[in-house]
């Protein structure tokens, strides 16, 4: 045995792939030379604009009565969302470890539900909370939050497609949670209900649904 560390001997035994691989790459890839995709900064700006536009679109019904809230809140939401993405979405580097990313997801969800619970004035009995007109109202609010969130999530997934080989599921889930927050915020502007179950289920659950769905979608769309 000539080496003290056999792992290093294994490493030294690694060989270059046959020349035909490089030639095929030259022929198929480099000669075609597709234009590189948008840069990270462009994607961040596009994400912020998309979130802002999604919030405006999702809150059209409330625009006349809460225009200032909508514009100010939308701008803040877009900036915070872009900041989160800048810090977390990896590109060629896993900027934030998986554990921290999971913690961030949990913090976003818990934060939203805490705000919703604290802003509730009452909790009706579960059996009656979604009966009759209350149920129909909850359904329309849930659909509103979900559709706005789906719009936001689809845009974010499209903007960042093919950029995350490390943890596309966690990144997708984060997009979903941000989009779910967008949906909850937008429906909150146009709904006057302060009943606790209505807020938690109809307004807030889009975070959970979209976080889960986008975790799956991330595996498909976010990998290079």
């Amino acid at each position: 045995m000539t080496t003290r560390d056999p792992f290093q001997a294994l490493a030294r035994a690694e060989e270059t792939p046959p020349l035909r691989v490089l030639e095929a790459l030259r022929a198929d890839m480099l000669e075609a030379r597709p234009a590189p995709g948008p840069s990270r900064n462009r994607r961040l700006v596009a994400s912020a604009l998309w979130v802002f536009a999604g919030l405006l679109l999702g809150s059209l019904g409330a625009f006349s009565s809460q225009a200032l809230w909508l514009l100010g809140g939308g701008a803040a939401f877009a900036l915070v969302g872009a900041g989160l993405l800048a810090g977390v979405v990896p590109g060629s580097r896993a900027r934030v470890g998986l554990g921290l990313r999971r913690a961030l997801l949990a913090a976003l969800s818990l934060g939203l539900f805490s705000v919703l619970v604290l802003s509730a004035t009452e909790f009706a009995p579960w059996a009656t909370a979604f009966a009759g007109a209350g149920g129909r109202h909850a359904l329309s609010c849930g659909i509103h939050a979900l559709l706005t969130g789906v719009l936001g999530a689809a845009g974010l997934l499209w903007i960042w497609r093919g950029t995350d080989p490390f943890t596309p599921d966690a990144t997708g889930a984060l997009f979903g949670a941000i989009a779910g927050l967008l949906g909850a915020f937008s429906v909150g502007l146009s709904c006057s209900s302060h009943e606790g179950w209505h807020l938690v289920v109809a307004h807030g659950s889009s975070v959970v649904w979209l976080g889960t769905a986008c975790g799956w979608a991330g595996l498909k769309w976010l990998r290079p």
Binding site: A11, E14, R93, A94, P165, P224
Partner: protein, 199 residues
């Protein structure tokens, strides 16, 4: 056998000479459109990628195809490269995902079909140890559970830090350390059997 240590310096800047550009500098030149930089980068990183994929697939032809697929994906995703970030973990993560995609599509075990996809190919012999320690280590690694073998391959053979290996494997540093540790225990058992046989 030297007792392995888990933590190593990051290998982001692979160079063979102080005057040569680092891998990251080459990547930045390549992103800017310099194709000569791409070829230098390819020659520098492809052996590590090929070695890693060869261990995953256990087939040269599939590993070669995956090297090509991986670099093609890097080419498409090059605009998302963050200047200064280590290139090798990024490349290996893309290669690993490409392997799983291809494996899922084929819906066959990698060693079940021959090159033309029709005839059964003999399984690689993993029972018993070779006459040389390096060969024995190779065989012992092949017989480990995939998660352990992959963690050891990335940290000890490819030379990534624990943190970089965790990024490639999509898990935490603690999980990588645990996998490497458990893998070592199994490897040690097998290599001690080899030592006994040798003496």
């Amino acid at each position: 056998m030297v007792e392995p240590t888990l933590e190593r310096p990051a290998v982001g800047s692979i160079t063979t000479d102080a005057s040569e550009p680092t891998t990251e500098e080459l990547m930045e030149h390549y992103v800017a459109g310099n194709l000569v930089a791409f070829e230098t980068l390819y020659r520098r990183l492809s052996p590590k990628l090929f070695g890693y994929l060869l261990r995953l697939t256990r087939r040269r032809d599939r590993a070669e195809d995956l090297v090509q697929t991986t670099f093609a994906k890097v080419h498409r995703a090059r605009a998302s490269y963050l200047p200064g970030s280590p290139v090798l973990p990024w490349l290996l993560a893309i290669g690993r995902r490409s392997f799983f995609d291809e494996h899922r599509r084929a819906k066959v075990r990698p060693e079940d079909l021959s090159y033309d996809g029709s005839l059964p190919e003999p399984r690689e012999e993993t029972v018993g140890l070779g006459t040389d320690v390096v060969e024995a280590l190779e065989r012992a690694l092949s017989s480990l559970p995939e998660t352990y073998a992959e963690a050891i391959q990335l940290t000890k053979v490819t030379g990534l830090s624990v943190s970089e290996a965790a990024d490639v494997l999509g898990t935490t540093k603690a999980a990588v350390k645990l996998r490497v540790h458990r893998g070592y225990l199994l490897l040690r058992e097998q290599l001690e059997a080899f030592k006994r046989d040798e003496t």
